[in-house]
Symmetry: C2
């Protein structure tokens, strides 16, 4: 397979070296991927899963600014941003946590914190980074500045370590997560990060496999692999407790094999409705967020994976599992009709909207490109090379809860 | 009156000069207010109205990074940010538009664009900055990079120039605004910025004096000075038109003199309800955003000016006109009760929440300070000196429509 030409990493490195020589008098000033005086609010990154690298993106000029290598196994990698948006914390599947500076293009820290990790979160105040792990299970807490380990929270129930999924930040340096093997939801209060205070909710359902927190930080919903239905918590309630919603949601009703369990973080809440991928069916479900009852279904091109609302909630964009993973469909939330279908490339793995929703950036893994599409005209605005791109993450996430 | 001690601007300048000398080899690199490699996502600024300066703020360290002077008359000044968050466009009441770099601390451009201006907006793609003017009226369009004038849109109806108010950006480089003297709402499509395409709505009501656009960009609401009630437009409708809502909202019902007409941008939408200042009454009104009917009133300490929702919608913070402008009250939106009252300083003029809502920054003009308050514990986290501070603006606004 021939890869498309990539940004001239080696040339960039040479330029950096030559600049460094010319600027020997200011050796303490790192060479920057962006000009000094430029802000970081419109930057982003794309995960290049096979090469263990990330591409740094500029969503204003719609260009790729550079490449940062040496991040290890980035399959299923996820990212959170520092409060200033200048740094990204990359959680690799291999258990590595890497702190990357998007402005200098340098790795500022890296720890192998577990054997198998499934993502992480950052505290509201930006001081704590937390990783959720499959192997050995549990949650680990790090100083966001130094990556010094501050606390280890083994998810042990009845003497058995559980894998942890669905980790999300909630206000006041607290984190919520689900225990796959134990069927529990825990909240860790890290007001004193070296002494986590845990609140545990048992019997929430069999095998929670992923979860989301609503944009306002109020509602936590865990999907269940071991049975149908979902576990929901109202975190604003005086005494939060677990309720079950959507009892038919799950694999039980599917007439088709499930090619990929959809991410719950692919759900989206637009206005008073949540749009979510049906499991194993070619449908997007519409749920009223007041009653948490299903109020409609929309037929789509395949098994949906991500069902993502444009930031204004006017549109919902959907990508699909194999064999339909070259297709993206756009739903108008006012008419509940599909208003556009496009085939931006082979193996569409992820989509990320610009903060005000004028464009969406789509990764097409097997075409080794990121495609930028205007969400109004559906025109392609740019195509940028990337090696097997998967997740795309913009620094505007730093301002949001649950991202 | 003795001013409190301010950050050591002169020492900072000396340090900058000495750094500049030491780094003569890299004279092209400006001295920065922040370290290279730090992002801009947690920066902000405070307007110092009497001294024509702005203070640059760091919301992570809760410090003041520096001062930028020479901005002219900043009474009633407002600010929008570049897409990258590194630059602020400051609209002065004297008609000046100043482009300020928060990272280098430098003024990058300044034009006297009108005789009397009342704020502005920036396009979705960040390329256009637009000012609304009282004198000579109308709207002017500038290149965001160079401040080159691109278009002049005189708001002339029946041969008479109108003052323009309530300007807001809406998707696809369009702007919406209200004509105070003509009683109209106009939408300017700036797809070709040198040839604005105007859509005009007449007879919207007497003397619109301010307006807001909802966070999703869907709803535009103009307040009327010349009569009671409000003009509302659903911009997602196939054929947008003006409707009248809240027919009793206005000065007509007030039993008290109106000390200050509340800003409509002080309204806030939290969940499915809008919270808005009653005019001339010691009340905050609750309006259902489905029906746009009033559904409740909350008694507060004075005539409300800004009624601002914490980003998660759980709390609404209220400040007041004279004589109660030393007070701030906090409403819990779940119970609709006031849960806290505080007196952060004399002449509270503005409040700005950090993006995830953990803190609020409050300007106390006559105490010459900015007070940072924890929104959960209500503890004071920091107090920073500022000369007669008014508006506080954080760079996270760059990611939001209508800000």
């Amino acid at each position: 397979m021939t890869l498309p030409s990539l940004p001239p990493v080696s040339r960039r490195t040479l330029l950096a070296l030559s600049s460094a020589t010319a600027l020997a008098a200011c050796a303490s000033k790192p060479t920057l991927l962006i000009e000094p005086g430029r802000g970081s609010g419109d930057l982003g990154l794309v995960i290049e899963r096979e090469s263990g690298s990330i591409g740094v993106l500029d969503t204003t000029a719609r260009t790729r600014l550079g490449t940062i290598t040496g991040l290890g196994d980035l399959s299923h990698a996820s990212v959170v941003f520092s409060r200033d948006g200048g740094r990204a914390y990359v959680f690799g599947r291999d258990g590595a946590l890497t702190k990357v500076n998007l402005i200098t293009g340098r790795i500022e820290g890296r720890v192998m914190q577990a054997g198998n990790s499934i993502g992480g979160a950052i505290s509201t105040d930006g001081t704590l980074v937390v990783a959720q792990n499959y192997q050995p299970g549990g949650v680990k807490v790090f100083d966001a500045r130094t990556l010094e380990p501050l606390a280890d929270i083994p998810a042990v129930v009845d003497g058995k370590a559980s894998r942890v999924v669905g980790l999300a930040d909630i206000p006041r340096n607290r984190f919520i997560f689900s225990l796959f093997d134990a069927g529990q939801i825990w909240i860790a209060d890290l007001a004193d990060p070296r002494k986590p205070q845990l609140t545990k909710f048992a019997n929430i359902g069999k095998q929670p496999y992923d979860a989301l927190v609503s944009p306002d930080g109020r509602t936590y919903i865990a999907g269940l692999f071991g049975e149908d239905g979902l576990a929901k918590m109202d975190l604003w309630a005086p005494q939060p407790r677990v309720e079950r919603i959507l009892p038919n949601y799950g694999r039980g009703e599917q007439p088709l094999p499930v090619f990929k369990m959809p991410h719950l973080r692919g759900w989206s809440i637009a206005g008073k409705h949540a749009y979510l991928p049906a499991i194993g069916r070619h449908e997007v479900l519409i749920v009223d967020t007041d009653t948490w009852k299903e109020v409609g279904r929309i037929k789509v091109a395949g098994q949906p994976v991500f069902v993502m609302a444009r930031p204004d909630g006017r549109q919902v964009w959907v990508n699909f599992a194999v064999p339909d993973y070259d297709t993206v469909q756009v739903i108008d939330t006012q008419t509940r009709q599909i208003v556009h279908s496009l085939k931006p490339g082979k193996a569409v793995l992820h989509m990320e909207f610009t903060p005000r929703g004028d464009a969406v950036w789509i990764s097409a893994r097997d075409d080794h490109k990121v495609v930028v599409v205007d969400t109004q005209s559906f025109k392609t605005l740019a195509e940028l090379p990337a090696r097997s791109p998967s997740g795309i993450f913009f620094t505007s996430r730093a301002a949001r809860t649950g991202f």
